[in-house]
Amino acid sequence: MRPLKTINLAGLAFFFSLLLLWEISSRSSALQVYFPPVSEVVLSLFRLMLSQELLGHVGKTVKRFLTGYFLSAVLAVGLGIILGYFRLAYAFFEMLIEFLRPMPSVAIIPVAILFLGIGDSMIVAVTVYACTWPILINTIDGVRNIDRTLIHTGRTFGLGQWKILRRIALPAASPYIVTGLRISLAIALILVTTAEMVVGGGGVGYFILDEERSLRTSNMYAGVVLIALLGYGLNQLFLYIERKMMAWHRGAAAEEIV
């Protein structure tokens, strides 16, 4: 594995030349209203942050995101472990899962509005719904891939069914669970942003759409950049925690390849 600290110079150079291209093409364009230069977008972003206008929106988005994400994590991991372990339980749910999983989760937003209105609970609910699938599927997979010997070991040490689930199935399946959690991280942000655009109760998604409608395009882009930064930051935080918690697995997995 490549050392994680190495700076990818080529990637960095490419990234900044794209920004430069953006700047130049925008300044030589007649449509600057729709397509402001990147320097202006960055300036808008700083201005908005300083005026605290955006911070309120960010707070709302982050709160909805965290609530939805963690609720779905607890729900999907718990359910996934049970469905992965008990064949009969999975048989009950299989059709339902296979039917609902491929459906684009945003399609559930109008339904959720009908039942929950346009408040935070609706946004959190659709986020939970969308995030559940990757975590659920990966957890089920992970539990199914546990070697029988590991389960037998738990049993011979006198563990009952529930303790085996908690103390053996959960940690043994955790590399799969983490994969699901990482996929859902991005999904949670998509759902929160989309739902905010639809219902208009504040949040970065709402802010982006509102600025577009008011033709403050520079602010709109600032919102887009902000949500991208938010996604990037959350992903980095996730990777950092993963490296700490799953150190045992990186080593074990590398050993298996050798």
Binding site: T153, F157, W248, G251
Partner: protein, 257 residues
């Protein structure tokens, strides 16, 4: 009263095509407290199936197993089964110390004392200094030592071992045999040891049950009168060792009728 008693135990499976395979048939033997008893038989004679039944992990088709007079219907609390595949039975997410502590935690022991005991056992199996290592960082032989320490931490009255040294190299195997004998002599745990290695069985045991080919039955119970402590060179050079080896080999080597 024997500590462990197996009475006319049979186990048959229904295969996917509906046919029944008899893995073991009417096996009977007993293990006295504190003894080291081996089951030796050809590969595929159902030895693992037998141990799984004794450990209460799978139900027998007929017959019964009793530990201290109590019939086994699920995993008995005073018995632990140690598997051959250490790489599958160790907890990859726990350190060496964590793995050994598991044997104590499941009995509700989590104190400072428990940790001291775990460290003591790690020392006994010769892994001092490796407490913080993870299983993948250790060699196969060292991993099996961790598994043994974890099993002993549980303080079982009976330790079942399913070809525990079958996946390590020949030299490591000799080392592990001696390490196991020392532990057994120190701790007095009753051991039922399964192997297809006749010499290993003789070297370790007080008594050997010879199993025939599938469906296996106990062909003979042989007492090993070699003196203890045993020595890899002297014991294996003993005339009686060779006689026993020949006797057992003749029985197992006979083709099925």
């Amino acid at each position: 009263m024997p500590l462990l008693k197996v009475e006319e135990l049979s186990k048959s499976y229904r295969q996917l095509d509906g046919e029944r395979t008899v893995a073991i048939e009417e096996i009977s033997f007993q293990v006295e407290k504190g003894k080291f008893v081996s089951l030796v038989g050809p590969s595929g004679c159902g030895k693992s199936t037998l141990l799984m039944c004794i450990a209460g992990l799978i139900p027998p088709s007929a017959g019964r197993v009793t530990v201290k007079g109590i019939e086994v219907s699920g995993p008995p609390p005073n018995l632990v089964l140690l598997f051959q595949e250490y790489n599958k039975s160790l907890f990859a997410w726990r350190s060496v110390l964590g793995n050994v502590l598991f044997g104590l935690e499941v009995k509700g022991k989590r104190s400072q004392q428990a940790e001291e005991k775990a460290r003591h056992l790690i020392g006994l199996v010769g892994l001092s200094g490796f407490e913080k290592h993870y299983p993948w960082e250790l060699s196969g032989g060292m991993q099996q030592r961790v598994a043994i320490a974890r099993a002993l931490a549980y303080e079982p009255e009976v330790l079942l071992m399913d070809e525990p040294f079958g996946s390590v190299d020949a030299l490591t195997r000799l080392e592990l045999e001696d390490a196991l004998l020392h532990l057994w002599e120190d701790l007095g745990t009753t051991i039922l040891f399964v192997t297809h290695d006749i010499e290993e069985a003789i070297y370790l045991s007080d008594s050997i049950c010879v199993l025939g080919r599938r469906p296996s039955k106990v062909l003979q119970r042989i007492d090993v009168s070699l003196s203890r402590p045993r020595n890899q060179l002297a014991t294996r050079a003993d005339m009686r060792f060779m006689e026993l080896r020949n006797e057992i080999y003749k029985q197992i080597g006979e083709p099925a009728h």
